[in-house]
Symmetry: C2
Subunit: 436 residues, 2 copies
């Protein structure tokens, strides 16, 4: 796993930390991994900072779940009030669920109603995995087909059905026989042709396409946002093959890209199903999907769907508070502005550094290639890990991604301001000077 703790520097950890790690391993087992050579332990979060027990502040340039900022008071107050009033399920009527669904749908451009507006319906789950799993069930029901096309290092979730189409989970988790992977949309790759080839290969095996499923920012493939628009021809061949286009917006949604509320809107496409998750409730478990009504109609009638906690009043209150803050604090605009500033400054830094290569991004989601000095262009996951750990030692949180783990993943909470970008850049400059 990229940026996983392996215990090799355990002896350098404080005794209390070693003891907590030992208890954790006994109680939770080996599936639970920690970040960093020297894991971090937090007791408080506020805005774009996390704090350890000694009061040290860590700049959070990594976490997109607390999207409107750690411990945001409006979210806390809204959730606390709702939790003290009513929390039940969707088989009783509640106003909040319907009002939130309407508000969420108004931000989407899925399907067409003939007047340029959109027509869609929302369904709620607790996690992005559940949302993608449900999208897959709906797509299979609608198309009567099973085939799925994903990218080479895609990650779409941890249910049994999603693990088998998430190559980034590694060779310990086999892909399904109905799954085809295509190269990520990097320079030199004819992405549309690759998808077309994968579809024809499915058909040669007697399988038809149920869905093409992609993260609109291709995060786990190394953050590949450009050029905006390259996904448009993919939607056409997916539809021509009878499949659905599922936009996985768990990473790219809720204003992260700055210019648009949803990553697919950067590409000017209208997916058939859009899945959402992580930042939706600022850390309260809420996720979901929106879809064309004709796509969900037969599934809804024949299979129904009930998720005990999905769309409950407390999680909906959190999600509603998140939309409030995105609007009142102008966070998408901040993501655009700070993101552009950060990308420009990081690009200037990379121009002067032998270990930083290409820098890509949209809004407050940046991918920074780390390359081996002396062998220009060669990706170096090892150096990226050293930088990630060096940043941690300077109390700035990032991680790495991509098939070779050599892409620095910079994805802070959206209130990240210019001063935070400057703190990040200073730490990055110090770190790259130190590591080679």
């Amino acid at each position: 796993m990229v940026n996983g703790y392996d215990g090799s520097r355990a002896a350098e950890l404080p005794p209390a930390t070693r003891e907590l790690i030992a208890r954790r391993e006994r109680a939770l087992g080996g599936a639970y991994r920690l970040f960093y050579d020297q894991p971090v332990s937090f007791v408080m979060g506020a805005g774009v900072y996390l704090y350890d027990a000694d009061g040290n502040a860590y700049l959070d340039a990594y976490n997109n779940v607390p999207s409107v900022g750690h411990s945001h008071p409006h979210v806390t107050e809204t959730v606390a009030k709702q939790l003290g009033t009513l929390n039940t399920h969707t088989r009783y009527l509640t106003d909040g669920l319907v009002a939130y669904a309407e508000r969420l749908l108004a931000t989407h451009t899925v399907g067409a109603d003939g007047s340029g507006g959109s027509v869609a319906q929302a369904m709620f789950t607790c996690t992005g995995s559940e949302a993608n799993d449900l999208a897959l069930r709906i797509a299979r029901h609608y198309t009567g087909a099973t085939g799925v096309v994903v990218t080479a290092n895609a990650y779409h979730g941890v249910t049994a059905a999603l693990a088998e189409l998430s190559p980034s989970l590694g060779p310990g988790v086999p892909l399904g026989s109905h799954v085809r992977v295509v190269p990520a949309p990097a320079p030199g790759v004819n992405f549309t042709a690759a998808v077309a080839w994968a579809i024809s290969d499915l058909e040669r095996h007697g399988l038809r396409l149920a869905a093409f499923l992609a993260d609109s920012l291709f995060s786990s493939d190394g953050v590949l946002p450009d050029p905006a628009g390259f996904l448009a021809p993919v939607t056409e061949i997916v539809h021509a093959a009878g499949g659905l286009y599922i936009a996985d917006e768990v990473q790219s949604g809720f204003g992260r890209t700055g210019t648009h509320m949803w990553g697919y809107q950067r590409h000017g496409i209208a997916p058939d199903i859009v899945t959402m998750g992580k930042p939706m409730g600022n850390g309260l478990p809420i996720a979901g999907l929106v879809a064309r009504p004709d796509v969900t109609e037969s599934f809804g009638r024949q299979a129904r769907y009930f998720n005990t906690f999905g769309g409950n009043p407390v999680c909906v209150a959190a999600a509603s508070a998140v939309l409030d803050v995105l609007e009142t604090e102008g966070l998408p605009a901040n993501a655009a502005a700070t993101g552009a500033y950060l990308k420009d400054a990081a690009t200037r830094l990379a121009d002067l550094s032998p270990v930083l290569g290409d820098i890509r991004g949209a809004g407050l989601y940046l991918g920074i290639d780390v390359i081996a000095p002396g062998t220009p262009g060669d990706p170096s996951g090892k150096l990226a890990a050293a930088i990630v750990n060096g940043m941690r030692d300077r109390r700035v949180l990032i991680s790495a991604t991509g098939p070779q783990g050599n892409v620095l993943k910079v994805r802070p909470p959206l209130p990240f301001a210019r001063e935070h970008a400057d703190q990040f850049l200073t730490a990055l400059q110090e770190t790259i000077e130190a590591v080679h």
Copy 2:
């Protein structure tokens, strides 16, 4: 769907309710079902009551999620405090997760350490579906097999992998070719022999058993708790076939049965994996599993597992507060006492009524058979629906279950006291007198 609103009595609803239902259908679509001929709309909950906008109190004899009572102040305060302090994920160290895991594990009797104690590890998800899906992934990884045996009207969740082994979802959701169903453990069924036959049928098809998966109360099969102990021989044949025994405690766990913290403990068995959900966080989305460490070891090493919101500090705080309240308010003991009182009184009522048949239960989970008068013993889903709706008109919330929908499902929050049982019994008596 049992107890689903079908719109046939829409004209009797207040205009505001009709309008909200219309908006809901537009925004959420047909997969979302409402309870009752006349859906109910709530704005507040406290203890064992839910309240509509006019201040009418409905006695909640149905909801097991708000297990320690609706809007319990200790849960609200604990969650609000944690949400205002820190909410992050499990790849940073936090004390609360480890402490809760240790506390939860201490309540289980899974695996044996040679000294009569238990050895197990915990993993956290957000929903019972995710917990069962993960248990299935682990079982398949551990056994290298795919076959699963479930009961005839089982329900284990809504992911793609679980829907295909949840026959209660109905004919619109096909079962997987690797799934075998056995008759529910009702009188006259040799349950152990049925499981053995299903395993041999799997083997005849070239499939081996990965897991036997059962709700320890067989809720969706009609609530079948007795005689305690009948599951013991099943564990033996499952193990002999190389499979794992997965106890689904989403319904029967956290003190619901009164005499034991976990439903499997009533049967004196030690499952290989135990899954938990609904009442775990009193409505905050937290769920999970505990398992023998040797069962999770290889999965953890090769596949790892990360669930973005799973085990986050806020959901863990809610779960920890639930354990606090179960202890300080003695709720399992109350479930045993009130449950016994309720079962005895309902049995006396049934002895005098031509429409009530067998009554089964453990703690505060009762199943009451509804039968057609004049044809003694014949189950009547239609009469059960009339009773469920008649109870709703008397402001008491229950539902129905079982393959024919004729079993009244009585499953209140655990602070349900004798006075609430009396209110329930009065309404039940009035209702059965009114419906036939």
